[in-house]
């Protein structure tokens, strides 16, 4: 079916020249849409551009009415569906012009990627143009089936992630453990927010195929229905909940002491996982079959039945990408696997959750650090004063004489003799930026010789070689003067451009135009164009040569 765009202002004149075989006399508007379809209108004066009283419909080539001419507006077909409007009532039709959603709603959204659309009955846009307020909301699918009955004061979707480590009740937990938490993989729970009733907005269900249904619209007694219309979380039972994961809905509440407590709703059994609500610092989702109860100084790992995976309780537990947990108690850091088997007891000074399969570990305070694998075996023996997690197969570490770079076998790639090192952003780079002691600028060294690749240094390195573009880096002499330098030190764009994004765009244009260097003439044109962008010349003007770049 040909895509059709129908609107009162689209068609300015009645057609006089089409090959239709029906009587056009009764219509004030006839327009050929192609594929044997005609948009027709009755009433109003469309020939004068006045559509206020024109009602639109669609007929076939032989005059057979496909859609009665009773609509003020017919929207654009998207995914085979288009909204229709009869004065201030909305509905939906499909490309066969069948009514999918009756034109009786005071507001509708647009179908989302799951084929769902919200509707509203009884609401009004009078005080909030473009948004329907009040009334009751519901959800239909693209076949016109009711997914959520139209009886809810509000609908919501899970869109907002709440911090990196769950729903936080005590910020000191995060700030105290920020070093560890910053290294942990994302471990998010998602809150929901109500849709605001903007006409033709779509339900954002990217975090999960769920709609929150609110009887009162005040985040009290809400429930969850999935995209198939099944109840996931019953209404009127829980006030605070988060996006379901792996068949469990994380819940939160306040106990009598105003502490935050948690439990989990098992969707398949319809019952709570824990026998009692547990006070926690953070709400965590089920991931890999387990969840973490983040009780202060008493964190535990639980399985889907609420049973502890380990007998131990920890001051906190951090999941890692390998499925191993980094644990901590008053004795130090340790590790357990996903089944709760202890890899290390909690006895080490610090273990940082894995990066690329290796865990940074400090056995004792003030001791040297090394790297272990998920089995707890040393891969790189402790011989560094400080270290960072691996990235692209490289980690920056600090030795006696300064910072350097190692690979995942522990081989030194850059000697530890520098004041600062910029972590490589590509595997096995041949260039690394380092800062010598007593200097303010980074220099670029050849990783094979560890000698300077070229003499010029730069105060700022915004983008490593190969990070944004192959074989070049974005550097700067100040925070507002950026340029592009190649691996041999050629300033392809001298550091005179205001801003990283601008220099990136300039470089892309250079490449397209076959330029290899940004010369003096290019800089002159660049500055000229920047100035000219803000100018408008009367069409009667003769623009002097000094304003033209060619």
């Amino acid at each position: 079916m040909k895509k059709i765009l129908l609107h009162t202002t689209l068609f300015l004149l009645p057609s006089l020249m089409f090959a239709q075989s029906f009587d056009t006399g009764k219509y004030t508007l006839v327009n050929n849409l192609g594929d044997g379809l005609y948009l027709v209108g009755v009433g109003g004066h469309p020939e004068k551009g006045d559509f206020k009283k024109t009602k639109l419909g669609v007929v076939a080539e032989d005059g057979t009415p496909l859609l009665k001419p009773i609509y003020s507006e017919i929207g654009e077909f998207v995914n085979g569906l288009a909204f229709i409007r009869d004065d201030d009532k909305y509905g939906y039709i499909n490309e066969s012009f069948q009514i999918v959603i009756p034109c009786e709603y005071d507001g509708v959204g647009s179908f989302n990627e799951l084929g769902l659309v919200w509707v509203n009955k009884g609401g009004s846009t009078r005080n909030t143009p473009g948004k329907v307020q009040g009334g009751k909301f519901g959800v239909f699918d693209s076949q016109g089936r009711v997914v959520v009955p139209t009886r809810y004061s509000a609908l919501g979707t899970f869109t907002t992630s709440v911090s990196k480590y769950g729903y936080i009740s005590r910020n000191e937990f995060v700030s105290k453990n920020s070093t560890i938490l910053n290294c942990a993989p994302n471990y998010k729970v998602y809150e929901y927010s109500y849709i605001d009733g903007t006409l033709l907005s779509s339900l954002d269900m990217r975090q999960g195929p769920y709609v929150v249904c609110s009887p009162k619209g005040n985040k009290s007694g809400d429930g969850i229905i999935d995209a198939e219309g099944n109840v996931v979380l019953p209404e009127k039972q829980f006030d605070t909940f988060f996006c379901p994961s792996e068949g469990y809905v994380p819940l939160a509440a306040k106990d009598k002491s105003e502490r935050m407590v948690t439990n989990y709703f098992n969707v398949s059994t319809g019952s709570l996982v824990l026998n009692s609500w547990e006070p926690v610092d953070c709400i965590t989702p089920y991931v890999g079959g387990n969840a973490i109860l983040t009780i202060k100084n008493d964190n535990v790992i639980i399985d889907g039945n609420g049973n502890q995976v380990t007998n131990e309780r920890y001051s906190f537990v951090i999941p890692s990408e390998t499925g191993t947990y980094v644990t901590s108690n008053s004795n130090g850091f340790g590790m357990v696997d996903v089944k709760g088997n202890e890899i290390f007891p909690c006895c080490f000074n610090l273990i940082v959750p894995d990066s690329e399969g290796l865990f940074l570990i400090y056995e004792k305070a003030g001791a040297l650090c090394g790297y272990i694998n998920a089995s707890g075996d040393y891969v790189i023996q402790p011989k560094f004063q400080q270290g960072y997690p691996f990235s692209n197969g490289r980690a920056i570490v600090k030795g006696v004489a300064g910072w350097g770079v190692i690979d995942k076998e522990g081989n030194t790639k850059i000697d530890c003799v520098w004041q600062d090192v910029i972590i490589p952003t590509s595997p096995d780079p041949d260039r690394v930026w380092v800062k010598p002691f007593n200097e303010k600028e980074f220099i670029c060294i050849d990783t094979s010789t560890q000698a300077p690749a070229f003499p010029r240094g730069y105060r700022y390195v915004y983008s490593n070689f190969d990070q944004d573009f192959a074989s070049v880096a974005i550097v700067g002499t100040s925070s507002t003067s950026c340029g592009i330098v190649s691996k041999d030190g050629t300033e392809m764009i001298p550091p005179v451009i205001n801003g990283v994004e601008e220099v990136k765009e300039l470089y892309k244009t250079m490449l397209k135009d076959g330029k290899v260097l940004f010369g003096e003439a290019d800089l002159w044109r660049y500055n000229l164009k920047k100035r000219e962008r803000s100018l408008r010349y009367p069409v009667t003007t003769t623009v002097t040569q000094s304003h033209w770049d060619y």
């Binding site: 689209l10 647009s110 003439a521 069409v539 003007t541």
Partner: protein, 413 residues
């Protein structure tokens, strides 16, 4: 003339590259080049906002950006401004400036180079210089090839944007144009004395009203199309009298005195439909985004219509993948692809004289639910097809001869 052209190239010190088959890199193919200008109606509402967003609208990626420093003209009354625009083009010698850009001509020194021609012409290193030294037909044909298929495909688009005030219809639809806040941020008038430049906006300044509507803002854009004339006379004059790689006052004077020799030919114009633009995905406190979307969609629509109306402006796009009877091409709704579109598949073939011709080897039609919606902000509005990265077509007929790198061009019925 031939001798002049050959002598010119013998004088070049830089090596010229031979044209390579697009199959070497499927996305490398010759594009037409476009210079786009806005005609801003300063007497209309939202003139400043339209001016501000227009400069952010890029040249479509199916064309090379051949923009010059001057991008915006202004008029202060309604009516037909075609004659005034034509006179502006002539009076300001725009055609000569487009030629200058092709050869990277520095107007201050007259120095030129061929880098842009090489880059856009996709020439690769071969014995081109040898061909030229031998004064061969092959070398001469390559020069003509660069002229016909490249420099001669340079276009000027003049976009006259008219704002359509839909206040009445908006009320009927249950919405209203509500202007909130004060106009702020207008830059001071820039007085140069000689150019009578009108006031402009500092880049990034939001000088607008917050428009509280989802349907109230519409534009109608008239786009006029001009083509650079690059014939034997103009190319011969330029190569022989003006092209220089070192400062040469004689050549500088020759070019400056004869800018009128270069011309733009008027091809035609189209008008956008003034259709409603959906503002899905745009917050109501983002008026400039709404304006940009409306303008960009209308310009894209006009470019599609110009391609349909004028074959010289029609683009070719490369096939990026072939899987049996299915091919993928980096075109979508922005280029006007619909379920009823039909495309011819063209195989570039190098002739014995080195020039390129395109031979039709098949036809393809898009699959209904595999049409890429690559229009501006299609993703934000949740448009179907916005998550695709190309359009999938079905080959009608024999598919054995189709491979990645071939070009497709829409068949206009």
């Amino acid at each position: 003339m031939k001798r002049i052209l050959v002598s010119f190239f013998l004088a070049l010190t830089s090596s010229i590259l031979m044209w390579s088959a697009p199959g070497d890199n499927p996305l490398n193919y010759r594009r037409s080049s476009v210079y786009s200008i806005l005609v801003n109606h300063t007497e209309q509402k939202y003139a400043d906002e339209i001016f501000q967003v227009f400069t952010q609208i890029p040249v479509p990626d199916k064309y090379n950006d051949h923009g010059l420093s001057v991008v915006t003209l202004s008029v202060n009354e309604s009516g037909d401004h075609s004659a005034a625009i034509d006179e502006f083009i002539l009076r300001n010698k725009v055609a000569s400036r487009l030629v200058g850009k092709w050869f990277n001509r520095d107007p201050r020194t007259g120095i030129c180079d061929m880098e842009l021609v090489k880059a856009r012409g996709l020439y690769n290193a071969t014995a081109f210089d040898t061909e030229m030294a031998m004064n061969s037909m092959r070398g001469l044909s390559l020069l003509q090839d660069a002229g016909e298929d490249l420099i001669g495909n340079t276009f000027l688009l003049v976009n006259e944007v008219n704002y359509i005030d839909k206040a009445e219809n908006s009320k009927k639809a249950g919405t209203a144009l509500t202007v909130l806040g004060a106009i702020a941020g207008l830059a001071a008038t820039i007085a140069t004395g000689d150019d009578h430049v009108t006031s402009g906006l500092a880049l990034g300044a939001v000088a607008g009203a917050v428009v509280s509507t989802i349907k109230g803002f519409k534009v109608k854009i008239t786009t006029s199309l001009y083509q650079l004339v690059w014939d034997e006379e103009s190319s011969g004059f330029f190569y022989s009298q003006c092209y220089t790689t070192e400062p040469d006052q004689t050549k500088i004077n020759a070019f400056e005195s004869n800018r009128d020799m270069f011309k733009l030919r008027y091809i035609g114009k189209v008008h956008s439909s003034g259709n409603q633009t959906s503002f899905l995905g745009i917050n109501e406190d983002q008026p400039l985004v709404m304006i940009r979307k409306a303008c960009q969609r209308a310009i894209d629509e006009n470019i599609v219509d110009l391609q349909k109306a004028y074959e010289v402006f029609r683009v070719k796009s490369p096939i990026t993948a072939v899987d049996g009877k299915l091919v993928t091409v980096s075109v979508g709704k922005k280029e006007g692809v619909t379920t009823s579109s039909k495309y011819e598949v063209l195989e570039p073939r190098e002739k014995s004289d080195g020039r390129v011709e395109y031979v039709k080897v098949g036809t393809i039609r898009p699959l209904e639910y595999k049409i890429w919606d690559n229009r501006f902000m299609a993703k934000e509005e949740g448009a179907q097809g916005a998550d695709l990265t190309s359009t999938t077509f079905a080959v009608t007929g024999n598919s054995n001869r189709i491979y990645p790198g071939m070009l497709v061009r829409e068949i206009i019925r």
